[in-house]
Structures are given as structure tokens and as C-alpha cells.
Amino acid sequence: MLSYFVHFMRAFLPLALVAGMLLPALRRSRTGEAGRRLMGAPAAGLAAGVLTYLVALKLEALTASRATLFGLGLTVALAASAVFLARRRREPGSLACWTALCSQAALAAAAMFSFLAAAGEEALSATAVLNSELILNLGGILIGFLGCAILVPVCAELAERSPSRRLSLGLFLMGLLIAVPWGADLLLALMRLERIELTSLRLSVVAKVGKYAHLAPYGELAILAALAILIWKGRSLPEHAELAALEPAPRRKTKSLILRETRWLKSALYLCVAIAAVLGFYDLYASRPPRISTPVRLTPDAAGLIRIPMAQVADGKLHRFSHLTDDGHLVRFFLINTRSAGSPGQPRIGVVFDACMLCGDMGYLQNKNEIVCIACNVRIFVPSIGKEGGCNPIPLRHEVTGSEIVISARELDKGARYFSEVVSIKVKDPVSGKELINLKAPFREEFKGRIYFFENEKTLEQFRAAPERFAGADPARNFRVQGYRQA
């Protein structure tokens, strides 16, 4: 339910806000025409969006169509604005109207397309028979629709009461918030299709915009809230004495007008807060993947061994530990009793890395009695933990001596490449022996899967010339694809 509401809001919020803010200007420029006609452009846009989506789905070219649509939208809006700016002195009225209608249609098409694409990623319902989930999801869409539908008149009222310069600024900012992600999307598509050259600057711009694109709705709501607050601050309410001096009828009229204005402003603010709160709840909490428990950091003894008493880990729970390698990699592993609680005999402890050969190092999670691979949501058959295959955690070689499980730091070090988390620690330049901070070292070199850090280029060159001399004879670290070969 929530995700559908959020998808709807993300897609349609810009359309609702822009349409609402342009409404008074459109009404003014087309005096005499029914307001209903103004719905024509967005309606055409929505239809175009649906059509594009259906065609794109059929041709399996969603990404390309999205870029095309955004590109077209940008071009249309920019061209219309340019024409308007160039010729506004001569024939202001109708041109402004056309610009507004064009951008509305473009927005509507893009909104519809992005909503359908986002919703298409998830299933509205698991079966064709009516069920609660289907109703809830439809309810989410309906509430989103109602929210947008209320936003349009609210925006129109605010726009009516804002000075035109401020309104233009608001619209400009809104346009920027809409156009930048579109532009980034277009840029990415052009680079993919090799129409323009791929450079690291362009890619980093696209990546940055993509990373923060989900914040755009908050920005748009903030613009709306700012307009409302500025009107609130700027309005001059008549003093009590002034009101008292009026005739009863005009006094009541004035009071009623003020009351009505206050209600519009309040509803705008409440709506902004409510929508932002729901979006925030989704972004910060509901859409987050489940988190793993914090691992207990273990340090090996002088012989390079980690000893864990079996009794400590035999209770059927997942016990997560971590080990820090020389170059700052945090290696996670966990132990779990794979024999079910009631069964007779010695506990049989599965000792595994907290990473999957297929899915990477998202880790595993215990949910009641089930062990779940976070990345792919597969339930792991507990008796099989410690064995390779499927989505099982990568086995870790270990020994059982009496009542202890002994894991050598060397085995853990071999698995360091399965994990991406790196901690800032002190390391030594293997050539000069100078102490450095691993994340701040000026030069680094990978050899046999281990990272070595150097204070200057000279030591790096020396190392490159004869790495074996400095790196020692430890066997190479495993790649993730070699994971199951180890055990």
C-alpha cells in the first residue's frame, strides 16, 4: 500500500504542483473559456504516457523510452519557454498559455510513464482473485490521487495570492527540480547508446543526481510550503479596532475572507507536512532492507588462532563475529548450531563467512527460526549451513578441538575479498616500514588480493619490482567465485 502511494506521489507531485501554480495565469489569459478546457493538455499528456508505457513494455525498451520521453519533454518545455521569452512583448497572452499547456502535457506524460514503470516493478496482486493486498495497493493509489487532486486547488489559491515575481521564482525552482533528474537520465541514455562520449565527469554527475533524485519531492513540497509561509508573513490583517469601525455587513465579509485565506494556507501547510512525513517514513524506514546484527570483533591470539567455545554458540542462534585483516578489511563470519534444538547428540556447528557466492556480502539474518539471505530473500535450510551450493553462505575452514572451535586468522584473511567494508587502521609501508593510515596512504598496490600501502612513489616502485620479497609467502586471497572451492 505504502509503496504504491509513494510511487504515485513521486510521479504525480510535480504535475499537481505545476498545474496548480499555472492555473490562475491560465485562467487570466483565457478569460471567457471554461476552466474545464484547461484539463485537455494534462489529459492528453496522461494518455500519451500510458500509450508510451504500453508500447515500451511490448518492445521491452523501458529505459530507452523513458529517456526519449524525458528528452522530448525537456525539448518541448524549453522550446516553448524560449519562444515565449523571445516574443512575449508582442503577443503575451496566448503564447504564455501555450507554453504552460505544453509543459503541463509533457509533465503529465512523464508522470504517467514513471508511475506505470515504477508500479510495474512490483506486483499489484499475487493472484487474479480479489484479495486484501490488491485492495490495499489500489487504496494507496487512490489516496495518492486524492492528495494530488486536493493539491491542485490549494496551489492555485497560493499562486493567486503570491506576487508574480515570487511565483515565477517558485516555478523556476520547481522546473529545475524536475528538469535536472530528467536531464541526467537523458545524459545517461545518450552515453549508453554511445551518442555522446562517456567521461568520468558526466558519469559522476549522473550518479550524483541519481543518488539524490528521491529527494526531489521534498524540495517541491518545500517550495509550496515556502509560498504559503511567505503569504502568511506578508499579509496585513486589519486591527481589531479597524474591524470594529466597519459596518456589520462589510465586517462579516472581511472576517470571512480572512478566515477562508487562513484555511487555504493551513491546508497547504498540513498537506505538505503530511505528504513529506509519509514519504520520509517510506524512505527512512519502510523501504530499507533489513539490517544484520552487529558482529562481535574478535582478535586472534599469538598463534594466529581464534578460539570460540562450542557451548557459547550451541543455542541455535546465529552468532556473528568479525575479524580485521592487516589491510583494514572487515571479515564477517558466523556460527550456528545446525542440529535442531531437541535432537540428540553433540551440537554440530556450521562455521561460515557472512557472505554468499552469488549475492555478495549483504549477509544473512535470523528471522525466528529461519536464516535468510538478505540479498535474495531465500530461506536457507539450516542443516545445510556449512555446505556449499545454492545461496548458502561460503563455508569457512575450521577445526574442532574438544569443546572449542578453532579458526585461523589466515583462513579468514583468505576470504577478505568477499567483503567490501574497509576500516581505517594503521598500516606499515612494506618497503620502508613507515606507519600510515590505510585510507589516507598516497599510494596503494594490490598483490595476491591484498592491498599494500606506500608512503611515496619510490617505495611503490621498489615493491612493484619484486613484490614477493615484501609480501611474504602467504597464499593468495580467494575471489568470490572461488568461495565454494575452499572447503
Binding site: 506486483a123 499475487a126 482473485v129 480479489l130 484479495n131 486484501s132 490488491l134 545445510s384 545461496c391
Partner: protein, 432 residues
């Protein structure tokens, strides 16, 4: 001010409002009843599709031809083609072998009891809870006790290693008066073979067809029938991920996926991909996921769903028309009041708002009462179609209230246009 007016106007014309409410109650209860039933089954189906475990049925390929007419199986090969028992071990060699939580083979043979009457009983051979050895996996305990934890035995489970112990299904035990500890002599019904003396160790309750049979260790069923090393089918319990878009697409056949999608599908533990891999591992077998709800109640509900839509639309239109005629009368009756409001400066939309909120309120009340009535009706329908009561889902309430309000609003929308045509001067003078 508006709320005050609404309150005052709401309590006027009570008889008409009562009539309007009962129209809506009728429609809402009908819709609630059908919806409750549909949602109950729909929720069960979607839970089944989204569950993290599923059972697959492994049968010989030639038996996979559906030749069932009116519940009777006409497949001539039924029971005549077999899977090799040792082939079943191959299912622990597939990509998702760790996700196979257990399996149980079945061999059902017709048998006869020695002694007076010589009752014919089916004898089902299976694993109860048996350690099976695979390369690299020294202890894999599997059998019906592992994959069907809900099977219950009054008495003791037989030992898989022995061939003189059986369980009697509850229905069969009731019919023949068997109890734990009884001794029987069983003979193969189709060919003269050595009779076997067995002890009933317990009475089995499963809720399925096994209740009418003797359930024995597989070895006994094989020996008695002479089908050494053969099984007819196997039940496989697998840990899976919920169905989603990709797996639904794959259901149309693996050809509809492009290579990237195929890889993702193959390397995700969907029921369908595990079934596909089982078939790859055991070429003579066909694997079918068992969607229990979808196969039974789902088919019925799929058919009544269309009926539901039609009934809903009919109820919508009928009660909408009822409301509409009531509304016309109301507006006519209260035209002076409307005229007065307009004369005092009320805009058209404000008068609209008053009348529409009034009818929305009527819809709300009617919808709530209709929900209650419909829930009772649903129980009756449930008892007559499925023979069981239907649990009530709270989600029905908001949906019904929304539909009822929509009915009320839709009914009032057209007549309320009359409001615009009322001119204060005319109505206040009483000319119209």
C-alpha cells in the same frame, strides 16, 4: 456553520432517509457477502503464492497426462509406470539442493487382509523418518514426518528399517476396528505373493487420502508387490522465495525469457525453477508444484468473480436510481430553503456541498449496517458452497463504505443539478 446546517438538515425528512439508507443497506450487504468470500479465498491464494515453502509432486512423465474425468482417473498407465528409488537421490545434486528440505517417496499398491472377509485395502509405502546418505552429506533425515509435520499418530511411528510395522489410517481403522498393537496379515491383491505379518503401531490422521490406507515403510510395499526399487511418486518439500513478475513470466514457459532473465530465474529459488531443475536431474520425472488453494477453492472463486462484478454493478445502478428519485423529491420539497440560502448569498457549490454531504452521510451509515448484514450472508453462502464458515476480513469494511458513499453520491449528483435551476425570487414567491 456548515456542520451546524448539516446536522439540522440531516434530521429532516427522516422517513425518506430511512428508505434511502435501506436501499444502500441492501446493495452493500450483497456486495459485502460476495466480497468476503472472494477475499477469503484470494488471501489464502496470495499467501500460498508468497510463502517461503512449497511442496512439489514428482511423478513419472507419462503419468503427467491429465485424464481425469469427473474425479475418476482414466489414465491407463496410472500406477503402471514408476520412478527409480535411487534416482530420487539426484535431487540433492541440483543447483538449489540445499533448499530441498526433505522428500518422501510413495508407492501405493492394492492389498488384501487375510482372514474373514478379506477386506481390500490400499497399502502405501513411504519413508517415515529415514537417514538418507548422499555424497558429502552424511546425514539427511527425510520422510513424511519431516515434510508433513501436521501428520499425527496415535501410538508409535513405525521403524523405517523394519518391514513388519504399519500405520492404519484413521478412516480405515474406524471401519475395520483396528487399534495400535493389532496384528494383521497382508497379501498383494493382484498376484499371489508371500503374505506378510505386520503389526499396527499406530493410527494416522492426515486429513488426506492416506487415512483410508495402511501406511507402511517403503520396503514392505516394494516387497509385497514385487516392485523392488520402484516408487510411484514423491513429495518434495522445498524452501522457496515468493512468486513475482519474473516467475510468473517463466510460468508461460522457459522460452519466453531472454538469457539474462533465464539466468536470474534459474538462480533464484522459485518453485518453478526448482521444479525445472528437478526435471533436469531426474529426466523420467515431471515435477509439479502443488498449489492447494489455487487448485481447489480458487477455481470456484475465479468463476464467481465475474458474477460478483455483475452483481455489484447491478446493485450500484439500482440503488443509485432509488437514491436519485428520493433526492429529486427532497430538493423539490426543500426548494424554498434552497432559495433562501441562495438569497442570503450562498454560492451554488455551497448548496451542493450541503446536499451531497447529507447523502454521503446516508451512504456511510447504510454501508456500515450493510457490512454487518453482508457478513452474516457470507457465512450462509460459505456454508452452502464450501461447507465451512468464511472468516471476515476487516478490509471489506472500508471498501464497502467507499462503495456505499459512491452509490449515494452518484445517485444524488444528477438530481442536485436542479439546484442551479432554482432562482431565489421564483421559489420564495412560490411560483415554482
Amino acid at each position: 456553520m456548515f456542520l451546524l446546517m448539516l446536522r439540522q438538515s440531516f434530521f429532516r425528512g427522516r422517513r425518506r432517509k430511512l428508505l434511502a439508507t435501506s436501499t444502500i443497506i441492501l446493495a452493500a450487504s450483497l456486495i459485502t457477502a460476495l466480497m468476503t468470500i472472494s477475499i477469503d479465498v484470494g488471501d489464502k491464494m496470495s499467501r500460498e503464492m508468497k510463502s517461503y515453502g512449497a511442496n512439489l509432486n514428482l511423478v513419472p512423465k507419462s503419468e503427467n497426462l491429465p485424464l481425469e474425468i469427473g474425479g475418476v482417473d482414466y489414465n491407463p498407465l496410472k500406477g503402471e509406470v514408476f520412478l527409480e528409488e535411487q534416482d530420487l537421490g539426484k535431487m540433492k545434486e541440483i543447483f538449489w539442493h540445499n533448499n530441498i528440505a526433505g522428500y518422501a517417496p510413495f508407492l501405493k499398491v492394492p492389498a488384501k487382509l487375510e482372514g474373514e472377509g478379506g477386506a481390500a485395502v490400499p497399502l502405501v509405502g513411504t519413508y517415515f523418518s529415514r537417514l538418507v546418505k548422499f555424497a558429502g552429506n552424511e546425514e539427511f533425515r527425510t520422510g513424511v514426518r519431516e515434510i508433513n509435520p501436521f501428520w499425527q499418530v496415535k501410538g508409535n511411528w513405525p521403524d523405517d528399517g523394519r518391514t513388519d510395522q504399519v500405520l492404519a489410517g484413521a478412516t480405515l481403522a474406524h471401519k475395520l476396528g483396528l487399534k495400535a498393537g493389532d496384528r494383521l496379515t497382508v497379501r498383494y491383491a493382484l498376484a499371489p505373493t508371500q503374505p506378510e505379518a505386520v503389526t499396527v503401531t499406530g493410527i494416522l490422521t492426515t486429513g488426506g487420502a492416506e487415512e483410508a490406507a495402511l501406511v507402511a515403510p517403503l520396503a514392505l510395499a516394494q516387497r509385497i508387490s514385487g516392485h523392488t526399487g520402484k516408487v510411484q511418486s514423491a513429495s518434495v518439500s522445498a524452501l522457496t522465495v515468493p512468486e513475482d513478475r519474473l516467475s510468473r513470466k517463466a510460468r508461460r514457459g522457459a522460452d519466453s525469457l531472454d538469457s539474462l532473465e533465464y539466468d536470474r530465474w534459474y538462480c533464484t529459488a522459485y518453485v518453478s525453477s526448482i521444479a525445472h531443475q528437478l526435471e533436469e536431474a531426474i529426466p523420467s520425472a515431471a515435477a509439479r508444484p502443488i498449489w492447494q488453494v489455487a487448485a481447489s477453492e480458487g477455481t470456484v472463486v475465479n468463476k464467481i468473480q465475474l458474477l460478483m462484478v455483475v452483481v455489484t454493478i447491478a446493485a450500484f445502478i439500482a440503488s443509485g436510481l432509488g437514491i436519485s428519485s428520493l433526492m429529486v423529491t427532497t430538493i423539490m420539497e426543500r426548494s424554498r430553503e434552497i432559495g433562501l440560502m441562495k438569497a442570503l448569498g450562498a454560492a451554488d457549490w455551497e448548496v451542493y456541498l450541503l446536499f451531497l454531504s447529507e447523502s454521503a452521510l446516508v451512504g456511510l451509515i447504510g454501508g456500515l449496517i450493510g457490512c454487518g448484514a453482508g457478513a452474516l450472508l457470507a457465512q450462509l453462502i460459505g456454508l452452502s458452497i464450501f461447507g465451512s464458515t468464511v472468516s471476515f476480513h476487516p478490509i471489506v469494511i472500508p471498501v464497502n463504505v467507499v462503495i456505499s458513499i459512491l452509490i449515494a453520491l452518484a445517485g444524488s449528483l444528477v438530481p442536485s443539478r436542479l439546484i442551479t435551476r432554482l432562482f431565489p425570487a421564483e421559489v420564495l414567491h412560490g411560483r415554482k
